[in-house]
């Protein structure tokens, strides 16, 4: 599997990574090598095999619908880059 610089730009956009244009060719080469490694899977016949989502075949536990956490807005927002009046601030989204 070979990826080129335009593939990397598309993937980086999906991942919201603003990668340096000078590095796209290098990333294209690295990711292509990794996908070549991954392609060894193609040799395996997996017809009729169930996918394994969890090593212990556990099911999701349910808990009672009761509040379990205290209000920690202040400590949580104290580590945020930018807040005001209990809100997280981001650049204007709607003009």
């Amino acid at each position: 599997m070979s990826l080129d610089s335009s593939d990397i730009e598309k993937i980086a956009h999906l991942a919201r990574l603003g990668i340096d244009p000078e590095r796209t060719a290098r990333y294209a080469a690295d990711l292509s090598n990794i996908l070549d490694l991954v392609a060894r899977m193609d040799a395996v016949d997996t017809a009729g095999v169930d996918p394994m989502a969890h090593p212990l075949h556990m099911v999701q536990r349910l808990r009672p619908d009761q509040p379990s956490e205290p209000d920690q807005r202040e400590p949580f927002q104290s580590i945020a880059p930018l807040t005001e009046g209990g809100l997280y601030l981001v650049p204007k989204v709607i003009e």
């Binding site: 899977m41 989502a53 090593p55 212990l56 997280y88 981001v90």
Partner: protein
């Protein structure tokens, strides 16, 4: 003092041979004096450690000390520690002070342990050499031009250099066992779900597991006794009773059936590493174990499968780092997309970006069946191989890593070569099984690890099997020159 076992330290503290403050100071002095050679700590918490040691001394005096009261430990910087920076080895979290403790941190604190600081690691635990850390590489105490392994490289180097008696680690594809092997210490990755993942920064949630890095199986048993157990705050935590790991250490291993997978001794394994691993197996025969050749036919596929599953889960887990709620935020974002893209590009290093992109690609529309679903199917086949093997044997043994520690810088330009370091450890994570690494005879002065893999929730047997070897041999007692 730094060569004593956890049991000896605990006994000495109870007898007031020395105080926890004295013991803590001793380790803080060693860190200050010796760590400049290794870079194994990201944060040293001198002040809070001494305050905790003072509290421990008061508890020891009062007579109701817990099992680890006053024993210094270090945490891999992936575990959230309230009030103490948790960086995960990344610029993204360089300024992150967690508002709460991870369950593992909380449990060890409740048992009385004193936190010396946070150890260096590959960025977001993605690496096998500790070279991807934002805080610089860790140097292997046995040869400071070489890597300590990764991702728990700081914990491994710190324990090997006697800068702390014991440290926590995490293992997603070998990140406890491989650095334990390369630094000549004992590391255990428990069964998936055995130790809580709550407050442990997520990399690949179906594989991540917390464990212990120590100088012996006995020390690891003491710590795991306190770390393991069900946690309702982690929805994947296993609700399975925890046996007493220390109690089982001395059990006889006569008649133990050891499986040697032929796939773990083939091409790619350094011949000198193979020879000392075979010698260790012979020691087990002398101790009364039976050796069986087995096959794990799908295990060579574990690296390709892992590099679909782990990046897929990583791309999803690391989506939370958006420059809004915590972590790095770029200067003067033009709009929201620019805020996300630049914050993430500046905050994450190259290896993390590669894995996020691989994960994003394999999960993108049209590729899911060919990559993720295919990988999860082969993962099932890999787990079935182990299931069949454990019908015939009690434990599986082989090398932890195909070579000894390699020079710093050797594999950084070739991600695939780096990934193949974990060829013997990854299958265990994919299957969710517990695994250990213990030191055997070194090769050219560099440590080699014997890997021991057990069936689900058989940590007690692994620790027992490791302890019997360490009872009969002395490899685990060797200290690197300059750190004795």
């Amino acid at each position: 003092m730094q060569n004593k076992s956890i049991a000896q330290l605990a006994a000495d503290l109870r007898l007031r041979t020395y105080s926890s403050v004295e013991l803590t100071r001793h380790y803080l002095d060693r860190i200050e004096r010796l760590d400049p050679r290794l870079n194994s700590f990201i944060t040293v918490a001198s002040e809070s450690a001494l305050a905790a040691a003072e509290r421990a001394d008061r508890v020891l005096k009062s007579g109701d000390a817990g099992p680890l009261t006053g024993i210094p430990i270090a945490h891999k910087d992936i575990f959230c520690t309230q009030g103490l920076r948790t960086s995960c080895g990344s610029r993204m979290l360089d300024n992150f002070i967690a508002p709460y403790d991870a369950t593992v941190v909380e449990k060890l604190a409740a048992a009385g342990a004193v936190v010396l600081g946070k150890t260096n690691m590959d960025e977001f635990a993605m690496g096998s050499s500790n070279e991807t850390s934002f805080y610089g590489p860790v140097h292997n105490p046995w040869d400071q031009t070489r890597v300590p392994g990764g991702s728990s490289g700081g914990s491994a180097a710190a324990v090997a250099a006697r800068l702390c008696p014991v440290a926590t680690g995490t293992d997603t594809g070998g990140s406890i066992r491989q650095p334990a092997a390369l630094c000549g210490i004992t590391g255990i990755k428990p069964t998936y779900g055995r130790c809580s993942r709550w407050g442990m920064i997520a990399f690949a949630s179906s594989l991540d597991q917390a464990g212990v890095m120590a100088r012996s199986a006995a020390d690891a048993a003491f710590i795991l006794d306190e770390m393991a157990g069900f946690d309702p705050r982690d929805s994947t935590s296993a609700d399975v009773p925890v046996p007493d790991y220390v109690d089982a250490l001395d059990d006889d291993i006569k008649g133990l059936r050891i499986g040697l997978p032929k796939e773990y001794f083939g091409a790619g394994l350094d011949g000198r590493v193979a020879a000392v691993i075979q010698d260790a197996i012979k020691e087990y025969e002398r101790l009364g174990a039976e050796i069986h050749e087995i096959s794990l036919p799908n295990s060579p596929l574990s690296v390709p499968v892992y590099y679909v599953v782990a990046p897929a889960e990583c791309s999803s887990n690391l989506a939370r780092f958006d420059g809004v709620r915590y972590g790095h935020r770029c200067e003067n974002p033009r709009d929201l997309e620019d805020l996300y893209k630049r914050s993430r590009a500046e905050g994450f290093g190259a290896e993390v970006q590669r894995r996020i992109m691989i994960g994003t690609y394999v999960l993108s529309a049209g590729y899911y069946d060919a990559y993720y679903l295919k990988a999860q199917k082969i993962r099932h086949l890999i787990a079935e191989d182990f299931k069949r093997a454990f019908d015939k044997v009690d434990v599986i043994m082989g090398p932890t890593s195909p070579t000894t520690a390699f020079p710093i810088g050797d594999k950084m330009d070739d991600p695939v070569a780096m990934y193949l370091n974990d060829i013997y450890t990854i299958a265990t994570n994919l299957a969710g099984l517990p695994g250990m690494s213990i030191p055997v005879e070194p090769v050219d002065g560099l440590p080699v690890g014997l890997q021991i893999i057990g069936n689900y929730f058989e940590e007690a047997r692994l620790l027992n099997v490791a302890h019997r070897f360490q009872h009969a041999t002395h490899w685990h007692q060797a200290a690197p020159a300059g750190f004795e």
